[in-house]
């Protein structure tokens, strides 16, 4: 007998690590996303019961996959008439054996199907978070600021499109692979950033999204060895996530980069990220992700905030804006210039962005401006900018930070 707590932990761990594997392998047998999800969920439920009696198997993922696939075959036999309403997914070939060798390929099939270019970006992200990262519809809805019913409808619609339009359950051809990998990486990055600073709510970080994205990036790195872009994204996520534990103080307040306790950054993770970054640059040269990772590396390597090499950071942003022109990159570049050349220069660099429509509701623009004004002692203007940032931010932890700064500059007004 294994204790209930041990079994619960083993099942939870198998869910975090192997959900995508179990689901993907089941999809290939039953060729229906809904049915496969149902079977995978039942396999996890059965694990809770069975493992309590027989112990946790040596390879939980393989155990769960076998149970889910057998369940799928049973249901297909019984409900073959009912299940014919929607066409089955198009796959290369259905594997017959109970333990196929190609689990890994199945996970890739699942990812590429969820991120197929014939689906909207919103649908790609929702499907990836739900099917690949294994989040519940409620969690996905909360993370992406959508009503639960709307998110459920979005996921259902996307699944119908996959089956109705016959989006194949397949790894793309070598010719299409780079572009398709690009779409997958964008989705993974989006899931990560949504988790890194949750757009709304009481928590700063949504661990489920961050861990799901990191795990998926790791999986992609294993499955697509030699792909410099994947290595670059994984490096970026690991550098960024290495600071996770220091971004909040003991009493739950936001701690910015300048005040974080760098001795508590995850050194092992930073080392791993640095090696991945070197690999990415060697294989693919500077790309959108590897340059962002390089910027994170500059911060990771600076022993203190005062040691930060802002000339290097601004130079890297100059490279990044050419590779990935975006208003957010311009904003970050302006901030780096402000730390390199002083707050007045930063303010001047921010000025052209104030009319940028894409940043019109972006709290970080107001917050960055407020910070430079505060450093310049222009208290009244700083207060106005903090008020703006407060009005635009939906994250409680960030709001508390901004409110604190607002109080500080308002106090100087006298």
């Amino acid at each position: 007998m294994t204790s209930e707590a041990e079994v619960g932990e083993a099942v939870a761990q198998a869910h975090r690590r192997e959900w995508a594997l179990v689901l993907a392998a089941t999809v290939r047998v039953v060729r229906d996303l809904d049915l496969a999800e149902e079977c995978a969920q039942e396999a996890y439920a059965q694990a809770l019961r069975t493992w309590a009696v027989s112990g946790v198997p040596e390879r939980p993922g393989a155990w769960l996959t076998t149970v889910a696939r057998n369940r799928g075959r049973d249901l297909l036999r019984r409900e073959s008439v009912l299940r014919s309403a929607l066409p089955l997914l198009v796959t290369d070939e259905v594997v017959a054996g109970p333990e196929p060798a190609e689990f890994d390929d199945d996970r890739l099939r699942l990812v590429f199907t969820c991120c197929h270019p014939a689906l909207s970006r919103d649908a790609q992200v929702a499907l990836t978070a739900r099917l690949v990262c294994g989040l519940s519809t409620v969690e996905v809805a909360r993370a992406f600021l959508v009503q639960e019913t709307a998110m459920a409808a979005r996921i259902t619609r996307a699944k119908k499109k996959i089956s109705g339009a016959r989006i194949p359950y397949r790894v793309p051809s070598a010719e299409d692979l780079p572009e398709r990998v690009g779409a997958v990486l964008e989705v993974v990055h989006l899931v990560f950033t949504t988790g890194h600073v949750a757009p709304v709510g009481a928590q700063l970080v949504r661990r489920d999204l961050v861990e799901g994205a990191v795990h998926l990036a790791r999986t992609l790195y294993q499955l697509l060895p030699g792909n410099g872009d994947v290595a670059g994204l994984l490096a970026l996520l690991l550098f960024t996530d290495a600071r996770r534990e220091t971004r909040l103080s003991g009493d739950g307040h936001l701690v910015l980069l300048d005040e974080q306790d760098r001795s508590r950054w995850d050194a092992g993770q930073i080392e791993e990220a640095a090696a991945l970054l070197a690999e990415s640059l060697r294989r693919a040269g500077p790309t959108r992700y590897s340059v962002q990772a390089a910027i994170a590396a500059v911060h990771a390597e600076a022993p203190t905030w005062a040691d930060t090499d802002w000339a290097e950071v601004s130079g890297l942003y100059d490279v990044l804006r050419r590779l990935w022109p975006s208003p957010v990159v311009e904003l970050n570049r302006a901030v780096a210039i402000g730390f390199r050349d002083g707050p007045a220069a930063g303010l001047a660099a921010l000025a052209p962005l104030l009319d940028e429509p894409a940043l019109g509701t972006y709290a970080y623009l107001s917050a960055a401006r407020a910070d430079f004004l505060r450093r310049l002692g222009r208290w009244a203007e700083a207060a106005t900018s903090y008020e703006e940032a407060l009005a635009l931010s939906g994250n409680e932890v960030e709001r508390a930070f901004l409110a604190g700064r607002l109080e500080e500059v308002a106090g100087r007004l006298g």
Binding site: R166, P168, D176
Partner: protein
């Protein structure tokens, strides 16, 4: 195999303004498309201009209303279609990508899967 309808949309005025050479190029383009698709093409036609369309609209009553013109008024109109067979959406998309209308800066192709029974 699945069936898809390729609906070719474009700006009719731009189509009408095409030179003889443009038209000859497009005919050749459809020839090349047909050669590439081979037996996958189950049907297809060019349509007469949208001005020749007649639309019936259900009223919920006994008789539909009959109007002159296409069902939806828009600058870009349906100009032709193909019915093709393809194993999946990727294959259909590759095939549709060969249609000569995509060389123009207006219009495009909508791929609609055909509902199959059973």
């Amino acid at each position: 195999m699945a069936k898809y309808l390729f609906l070719i949309y474009g700006d009719e005025q731009a189509w009408e303004a095409e030179s003889e050479q443009d038209r000859a190029d497009k005919r050749a383009g459809h020839g090349a498309f047909a050669a590439a698709a081979g037996a996958a093409i189950a049907g297809g036609n060019e349509l007469l201009p949208a001005a020749t369309a007649t639309s019936l609209r259900g009223t919920g009553g006994e008789r539909p209303t009959v109007t002159d013109g296409p069902f939806l008024e828009s600058k870009e109109v349906l100009g032709g279609y193909y019915l093709v067979e393809a194993p999946d959406l990727d294959a259909a998309t590759t095939l549709a990508g060969k249609l000569p209308e995509l060389a123009a800066a207006h219009g495009g192709v909508e791929i609609r899967p055909i509902r199959t029974m059973g």
